[in-house]
């Protein structure tokens, strides 16, 4: 964990179908590339950012606000990359 501060960024779900298998599957794959602790929070629910099943149970719908929290040396890079990934997913045809 080190002395690095906790990095938190919020994201509002855009895809009409919400966040499901594909985006979370990419999210998890990407999260594994970093060392920091990563968690995704929706309201009172908190999920391990590397647990596909836990992320799915958040049931993030279009319009929901989620926040990504990371804690560790590469936290900043991780959160930036993960948000970028979710935004890129919105723009792809698959999100329809």
């Amino acid at each position: 964990m080190g002395d690095a501060p906790v990095v938190t960024r919020t994201y509002v779900v855009k895809p009409a179908n919400g966040l499901h298998l594909r985006p979370w599957s990419r999210f998890v794959k990407l999260a594994h590339q970093y060392k920091c602790r990563i968690e995704v929070v929706k309201e009172s629910a908190r999920s391990d950012g590397r647990s596909m099943l836990a992320l799915l149970t958040l049931a993030a719908k279009c319009g929901d606000e989620i926040s990504i929290e990371a804690d560790g040396d590469d936290a900043e890079e991780a959160v930036t990359a993960l948000i970028a990934m979710l935004e890129a997913y919105e723009d792809s045809d698959e999100s329809a």
């Binding site: 979370w24 794959k29 647990s51």
Partner: protein, 581 residues
């Protein structure tokens, strides 16, 4: 504790360990492992995960190559689930701390996730529960080392819980080990229900989705009397059901004492008791109960299997098995009694499933080659014993004559073939259409025997579709119109001394036994499970008593009053008799 309501299709109570088959027929096995086996079991789980992941990667690559990356995304998602650290932590903890077997842990943990997904207010996610089930299945396949545990190879007593059991799967169940079963789908009129009753296995069908709530080895209660199943029963409930099951056994043992006693009334009138069967392996159950023969052998199962329209040999094997098992006692084989919708190789139309449509003997007469195949097999099996042929759904005399002519044709063909067969086969008909009852004085000149099929006779007389639950309350075996039709049939048959039996559901219900004897019936064909109870009533009454009951019932005009009256009369004779049918 969770109590679920389904449809009771076969009476009795069973308590035991669950043997769960999902809609792929997969078994989830036993739950605990020994303390010192924990490490090796954890290794086994790790290997199953590795192998399942490797397989999924291969799938993903194949699909990506052949269909494109878009289609392989689902496998990518499955891979992420299989690599889910939280899932592995939960599974490892279940094995390490609770000593669950890897199979049980996988099934339990993944089913819990599937349930969470289903409960989320999100139809898209709810469907993802199928992905979880898919992963569960693949992991189990690895852990178990084979795709499917055969339910025919059981070695300990279990209750089978399944999405569905086909009639042939049901018939193949080993009665020694299968204490009862419960299914998510199915209805009271289904063939599975008929088979379960024939095999005397307590059964409940049509419960709706519940398999996600149980795991193999769980203690479960199947109550075939009330049509309920109880998951995770509490101590008190278990005790109550154990007591009930014990009582069932005592009652059964008492009834078994009737086996070798003659089926006759107190005044010495002999009543022929025959058995209704669907599958060849039910014949021995009939013989165990010392029946006088098989009064109704339904042959539909031959056409409902997966192999398409059966050939002559498939028919012959089945018939020969029953005829030989019955050791010279009569066997009444009913020809095809299905709607066109059930026959393979035809796209069903709404008309096909109509009870007023092209079905049964109508279908046979329009498909002569199909009909002849069945008749040839029956006549050949007749060389092995006393076989009789019964045609269903006859509504006009010319239909019976036509069927008879086709039998004559088949006899000519067989004579030419040189195969062993019997030409002295009695030909009879089901009396199940009101027109047949009305015209019975004409029929009796043509037929060798009659059998009242009350299930359909009620349907056609009261214009109530048996398969339509919206009008199910109008369907009644105690309807006064039905009673009169039975009365007319027996009287018309008496004039020509034509043997008449009754094989509908009411023959197996003790409520109606006195009525039927009073109306003049001297032969009843009943499900094997009902033989002793019916015999008990027969042996407790006089014909005079029964005639008085019948006369009174015939004078009444309301089905419910008739039924109550019949129940009261039965109680007068046998106060402790409890008709659960």
């Amino acid at each position: 504790m969770q109590k679920l309501q389904g449809i009771a299709v076969s009476p009795g109570v069973a308590i035991g360990e669950a043997f769960v088959l999902d809609n792929e027929g997969f078994r989830i096995p036993h739950r605990f492992v020994a303390r010192d086996a924990v490490d090796s079991e954890l290794d086994r789980l790790a290997r199953a995960f590795d192998e399942t992941r490797a397989q999924t990667e291969r799938h993903r690559d194949t699909v990506a190559r052949e269909l494109g990356a878009q289609y392989s995304a689902i496998f990518e998602a499955h891979l992420q689930m299989l690599s889910d650290p939280q899932l592995r932590a939960e599974l490892d903890a279940s094995i390490r701390e609770r000593h669950y077997s890897p199979e049980y842990a996988v099934s339990r943990v993944l089913r819990r996730y599937a349930k969470v997904f289903q409960s989320l207010d999100n139809s898209f996610l709810a469907e993802r529960s199928n992905d979880i089930v898919d992963i569960e299945r693949r992991l189990l396949r690895e852990l178990l080392g084979k795709p499917r545990e055969e339910i025919t190879n059981l070695t300990s007593p279990v209750l089978i819980l399944a999405y569905n059991l086909t009639p042939s799967e049901t018939a193949a169940l080993d009665r020694k080990f299968v204490l009862g079963f419960a299914t998510e789908i199915g209805g009271a009129a289904g063939h599975t229900a008929i088979v379960a009753e024939g095999m005397e296995i307590p059964a409940v069908v049509g419960i709706g989705p519940f398999l996600n709530e149980v795991s193999g080895g769980d203690l479960v209660i199947v109550d075939g009397n009330s049509g309920t199943i109880i998951l995770q029963p509490d101590e008190e409930t278990i005790a109550r059901y154990r007591f009930e099951a014990e009582q069932d056994r005592t009652r059964h043992a008492k009834l078994e004492a009737l086996r070798d006693l003659p089926s006759q009334t107190l005044d010495g009138t002999k009543i022929e008791l025959m058995g209704n069967i669907e599958f060849p392996n039910e014949a021995p159950h009939c013989l165990e109960r010392a029946v006088d023969g098989i009064g109704l052998y339904r042959t539909e199962f031959l056409y409902l299997g997966s192999e398409g329209v059966p050939d002559e040999d498939a028919h012959y094997q089945a018939y020969a098995e029953v005829v030989q098992a019955m050791q010279g006692r009569p066997v009444v084989i009913r020809t095809l009694d299905l709607g066109a919708d059930k026959l393979v190789g035809r796209d069903p139309t709404p008309e096909d499933s109509s009870p007023l449509g092209l079905r049964s003997i109508r279908l046979s007469l329009r498909n002569v080659p199909l009909f002849k195949t069945q008749l040839r097999a029956i006549l050949r099996a007749a060389a092995l014993g006393d076989v009789r042929i019964m045609f269903p759904l006859i509504s006009a005399v010319h239909e019976f004559r036509q069927a008879k002519m086709i039998v004559a044709d088949v006899i000519d063909d067989l004579l030419e073939s040189g195969l062993p067969f019997s030409r002295n086969v009695k030909l009879g008909m089901m009396v199940e259409v009101p027109s047949a009852v009305i015209m019975l004085d004409q029929f009796v000149d043509e037929v060798d025997f009659l059998s009242l099929g009350t299930n359909d006779l009620i349907q056609y007389t009261l214009a109530v579709d048996r398969g339509n639950k919206d009008v199910a309350d109008l369907y009644s075996s105690s309807d006064p119109a039905l009673l009169r039709l039975i009365d007319m049939t027996v009287k018309a048959a008496e004039r020509k001394q034509t043997p008449v039996s009754l094989c509908g559901q009411m023959s197996g219900s003790t409520t109606y036994t006195m009525l039927l004897l009073g109306l003049g019936l001297r032969s009843l064909s009943v499900p094997p499970s009902a033989v002793y109870e019916i015999k008990r009533v027969v042996r407790s009454v006089t014909i005079e008593q029964c005639r008085a009951v019948a006369a009174r019932a015939l004078s009444m005009e309301n089905a419910r009053n008739i039924r109550n009256f019949l129940k009261e009369e039965l109680k007068k004779v046998l106060p402790e008799m409890d008709d659960q049918r």
